[in-house]
Structure formats: structure tokens, C-alpha cells
């Protein structure tokens, strides 16, 4: 039978085909990176940019990348940075979010607006005075110094305030009648019911701090405290001098791997949390 062209060329199908083409173009940097990292002659040459994998793949670039960088150290430092930032953030935003969501007190609105102002300011713009503060506090050249400016999060506070407000008050009232203190209510009633909000915040915070570069670059001097992004740049600059693109591709894939694996595993949570965020 002859395929009926008219039946297939509906507006919907044309749109789908066009979008596939656009998304393919959008993904070419990734495709190239993957292909380049498996090339046997990653040193360049005219065919380096080819997206056609016309070669026998080798793991050579990955081997050299592992040898050339201090990956375990950088991974460890980034993990410490991300965890140390997040744990303190979760405590401060839960406490502050609870105060804004459940307690009436004088000056609440004014304080709320003071918090709000922070959302409009981009912390990276304040690198100069914040570095001065770190020097005064004796936190320069320490991972704690990289974390500290993010420990209070206006965005997280709002997210938790919103999350707490969606929980019906009946639960708390029942707990209070049973003799629970405010702390027990928060710890055993509100927090367990706010896991979606806390997860959303955690994902956004981890992605942001895992990928941040300028601030750790300015705060950290000691090579033993270097994080992944800063390490990748020093590593890539060396490889670029030798125009070893396979090496750069492999190194970049290392730093991306944890977030990509997590994203593929928890796609829905990722997308939802990014939608509820926006600020970072």
C-alpha cells in the first residue's frame, strides 16, 4: 500500500518533526562531548568536530583525565561544600519558615519584607565586601567560608513558609492537646509533612552549589581545598594548552555525572523542584 502523505503531514506531526530537529541541534554540544571523549586521537585534527563516531571507541581520554586531575579530592571537597551548606540551610529555613507561617508577632510584615529584598539581590555581586567579612571572621581560605554566605536563604524561608501553610492546622492542634511542645510539633508533625518542599529546596541548593565557580575561586587558595568547578578549570586550561579536547570532554563529563545520574533517576522531583524555585 502507498503511504498516504496527506494523512501523515498533519500540523501536529510537522511540529513534532520540527521540534525533534531543533532539540537535536540543541543537544549537539553534548553529543560532541560524548563522542570526543571516546576518540582514539583526541588531539584534534580536522575531523575532531565530526559527530559521526567513525572509529573504535577507546577509554584512553578517561584514563588520562583520571591521572591528570585530583578528582577524589575535588569530589570530596565539593561533597563537603554541598552537604555543609544544605544541612545548615535546612535548619535555618525550617525555623524561620515556621515562624512566618504559624506565629503572629509584632513587626512580622516588616521583617518579611526585609527577607524579600534579598531575593532581588544577586549574592555574587557582593563578592568584594563578603570577602572582606570572611577575612575579618578568619574564614578566608576555608570551605566554611564558601558555605557561610548561603546559610540563611530567603528563598528557602519562603518555600518553607508556603509549604507549612498548606498543612492543615488540625494536625498540630491534636498534637498540642496531647501535650506536645512547639518543638515536638515542628519536629514530628510539620517537618515529616513538608518533605516535598524540603526535597525541592535540597535539589535546587545542591545543583547551585555543586556548579558554583566564582565564589569558591575567590575564597579558596589552598589546592587541598579546591572544589570540582575550580579544579575543572585548572585541569581544562592545561588540556587546552595541549589542545587535548578528548581530555576536556572526559573531565567535564566527570563533573556532570552525579547530577545527570540523579536527574535521570528522579526526573519528576527535579523538574517540580526547579519549577517551585526559580530564584537560583
Amino acid at each position: 500500500m502507498k503511504p498516504d502523505l496527506k494523512k501523515w503531514a498533519t500540523p501536529g506531526a510537522l511540529l513534532a518533526a520540527a521540534m525533534c530537529a531543533v532539540v537535536f541541534l540543541w543537544s549537539t554540544p553534548f553529543l560532541w562531548m560524548l563522542i570526543a571523549s571516546f576518540r582514539p586521537d583526541p588531539g584534534g585534527g580536522l575531523g575532531m568536530a565530526s559527530l559521526v563516531p567513525d572509529f573504535v571507541p577507546t577509554l584512553q581520554s578517561y584514563r588520562y583525565a583520571i591521572e591528570d586531575g585530583y578528582w577524589p579530592l575535588w569530589f570530596l571537597n565539593s561533597t563537603i561544600l554541598v552537604t555543609g551548606t544544605l544541612v545548615v540551610q535546612l535548619v535555618t529555613i525550617s525555623l524561620a519558615g515556621y515562624a512566618f507561617a504559624r506565629i503572629t508577632f509584632p513587626g512580622k510584615e516588616a521583617i518579611f519584607y526585609i527577607f524579600l529584598l534579598q531575593l532581588m539581590l544577586a549574592p555574587p555581586v557582593l563578592i568584594v565586601p563578603n570577602l572582606t567579612t570572611l577575612v575579618h571572621l578568619g574564614l578566608y581560605d576555608s570551605l566554611i567560608g564558601v558555605m557561610a554566605p548561603y546559610w540563611g536563604s530567603a528563598f528557602g524561608t519562603f518555600l518553607m513558609r508556603q509549604t507549612f501553610r498548606t498543612i492543615p492546622k488540625d494536625f498540630e492542634e491534636a498534637a498540642i492537646i496531647d501535650g506536645a511542645s512547639w518543638w515536638q510539633v515542628l519536629r514530628h508533625v510539620l517537618i515529616p509533612l513538608s518533605l516535598p518542599g524540603l526535597t525541592a529546596f535540597s535539589i535546587v541548593s545542591v545543583v547551585y552549589h555543586w556548579n558554583e565557580f566564582l565564589w569558591p575561586l575567590m575564597v579558596i587558595n589552598d589546592p587541598d581545598k579546591m572544589v570540582l568547578t575550580v579544579g575543572l578549570v585548572s585541569f581544562a586550561q592545561g588540556a587546552e594548552g595541549a589542545s587535548d579536547w578528548g581530555l576536556i570532554a572526559a573531565g567535564t563529563l566527570f563533573i556532570m555525572a552525579p547530577l545527570f545520574i540523579a536527574f535521570t533517576a528522579f526526573q519528576r522531583q527535579f523538574v517540580n523542584s526547579f519549577m517551585s524555585s526559580g530564584v537560583k
Partner: protein, 299 residues
């Protein structure tokens, strides 16, 4: 109702909300409000280094930066860069969301791929895009050559370097903005669109008169975050161009970073920070106001 079951002193109970807010507030104060004040005061003194007392210098630092061709260049570049990244990335984000609005297996996969660049660190994307923009052998030139377009030195040409950075930023952010538009589109009531359809509105009219006005708040929000990112993200400048060639990719935050980190000119660095913050706040408020005035809220 809120009868305390344990003996808690009254004064402590009324202080409780403030104590709960204290940890978060202390951090915000120490690293946002205090530095804002500090940078404002420091910009009015002639201190050269951290720790100097410095004498009051009035507007001298501001005069100095506004006489500095590099600062004026960075300001102009940043305006161009903001316009050249905010508009295309928001537009692409919106168009992607429109095209992938209906959830099917295919659209779910395409959305994920478009979202991927959001997860890549900007320094990683920059390292890869150095190769994409390589003259002759780079990804872009290699395939443009097949279309008969001759080699271009994307990052080495002062007229093209900033445009190349805009392309990278658009590539990286459009998928992120798409998410907000997808969420916004879900909130557009079906009957409003149906009604317009029955009235005989074609898809373009439905888009212009129904969908876009209802997405007003989303547009406002995405515009502001895109603007903040155009001012606060300079990792790719550091990795790819160092502000060059010929200062053509020097942006405000890169200028601040250089003044503080390389030239140790605290006066210029702090004055430039104040100007940047004022510009950012003003633009954020303006874009929120303008978009909101054009929006028709009805629920």
C-alpha cells in the same frame, strides 16, 4: 487553643518567633545587608585595601569609574549582553513550552534534553564551547563549512566574541525558562481558549489575546531571573575570554572582580558594585511593573 502545656515563661514565649528567625536573619544580615552598607560606605572613602581606615572622599570613586573607559565599556557590554541573552532565551523558553505543551512520550524526552544544559556547570559548558567556537576545526565552523560558510574566529573577533557568549548563555538557560512557561501554560484555563476558538480566533490570535496575557506573571518572573543571571553569572567570561579580545566581553561583575582581585583598587571595585546593584534593583522593579501593567488579571 494554644495553651502551653509546659511551664514556659511568658517573656520567652513572646521572644520565640524572633529567636526562630534569628539564625536565618543573622546570615542574611552578615552577607547581604551588612555588605550592602559596607560597600556603600567604602565607595565614599579613599581606602585602597581591606583594613585601611581611609578618609572620606565623597564621590571621587564614582567620578573615577565614570572616567574609566573600561568601566563604561563593561557597562555598555553588560547592557548589550543582557538584551542579547534575556530576549532570546526567554523567547526560546516560551516557544519550546508552547511546542511541547502536550505531554506525550516524545515531548517528555525532548523537554528533558532541553533541560540538560541547566544541570551543567557554567564552567563546564564554557570549556566545551571553547571548542564549539574554535575557528576552522571547531564544531560550529566544521559544519558551517559544509554549508559553504568560511571559517570564523568567533571568540577572537571583538565584534563576535560577546555574541558568542550570548549564544552560550541562551543555550544554557532557555530550557530552564521553558519549565516556568510549561507550568504557566497549565494554569491557562481551557474554556478561555475554547471560547476564543468558537469565536473564530485563529491560533495566532488565541496566542496573542488569550495565552500571552494570561502568562503575564510568568513572563515577569522569568524576565527578572534572566536579568539577574545576566548580571551575576560571569564564569564563562573568566574561562573563555578573560574579558577580551580588546575588552569586548568585559562585563560589570568581571570588572569588579578584576579591580578587587588583580588591581587591588577597592575604591573602583566598591563604586562599581554600588552602581551594579542600583541598576539591577531598578531594572528588576521596572520589568515587574511594566509587565504587570500590561497584564489583565482575572480569576
Amino acid at each position: 487553643m494554644n495553651k502551653p502545656t509546659r511551664e514556659t515563661p511568658r517573656s520567652f514565649r513572646s521572644a520565640r518567633p524572633y529567636l526562630l528567625l534569628l539564625p536565618a536573619f543573622l546570615c542574611l544580615a552578615a552577607f547581604t545587608y551588612w555588605p550592602m552598607l559596607q560597600v556603600l560606605l567604602a565607595s565614599l572613602t579613599d581606602k585602597k585595601r581591606v583594613g585601611d581606615i581611609g578618609a572620606f572622599a565623597g564621590a571621587e570613586n564614582y567620578v573615577r569609574i565614570f572616567q574609566d573607559a573600561h568601566f563604561l565599556g563593561a557597562l555598555a557590554n553588560n547592557v548589550l549582553y543582557a538584551a542579547g541573552t534575556v530576549m532570546p532565551s526567554v523567547l526560546f523558553g516560551f516557544l519550546f513550552a508552547l511546542a511541547l505543551r502536550e505531554t506525550t512520550n516524545l515531548s517528555a524526552v525532548l523537554r528533558s534534553i532541553l533541560f540538560f544544559p541547566t544541570l551543567v556547570p557554567l564552567v563546564g559548558a564554557a570549556a566545551i564551547f571553547i571548542f564549539v567556537f574554535m575557528p576552522d576545526i571547531g564544531l560550529l565552523d566544521y559544519y558551517l563549512a559544509k554549508l559553504g560558510i568560511s571559517a570564523t574566529n568567533w571568540l577572537g573577533n571583538p565584534d563576535l566574541a560577546l555574541v558568542s557568549l550570548m549564544a552560550l548563555t541562551t543555550w544554557k538557560n532557555a530550557g530552564y525558562y521553558m519549565l516556568f512557561f510549561l507550568a504557566g501554560l497549565q494554569a491557562v484555563p481551557q474554556d478561555a481558549e475554547e471560547a476564543a476558538k468558537i469565536e473564530g480566533a485563529n491560533w495566532l490570535q488565541r496566542l496573542y489575546f488569550v495565552i500571552i496575557p494570561m502568562l503575564g506573571p510568568t513572563f515577569a518572573f522569568v524576565l527578572v531571573i534572566a536579568l539577574i543571571s545576566a548580571v551575576s553569572q560571569i564564569d564563562h567570561v573568566i574561562v573563555m575570554t578573560d574579558g577580551g579580545p580588546n575588552n569586548s566581553t568585559n562585563l560589570l561583575l568581571y570588572y569588579i572582580y578584576q579591580q578587587a582581585h588583580e588591581f587591588y583598587d577597592l575604591g573602583k571595585a566598591t563604586a562599581a558594585t554600588v552602581v551594579t546593584l542600583i541598576a539591577l534593583l531598578t531594572l528588576s522593579f521596572l520589568s515587574l511593573r511594566t509587565v504587570e501593567r500590561k497584564v489583565h488579571y482575572e480569576t
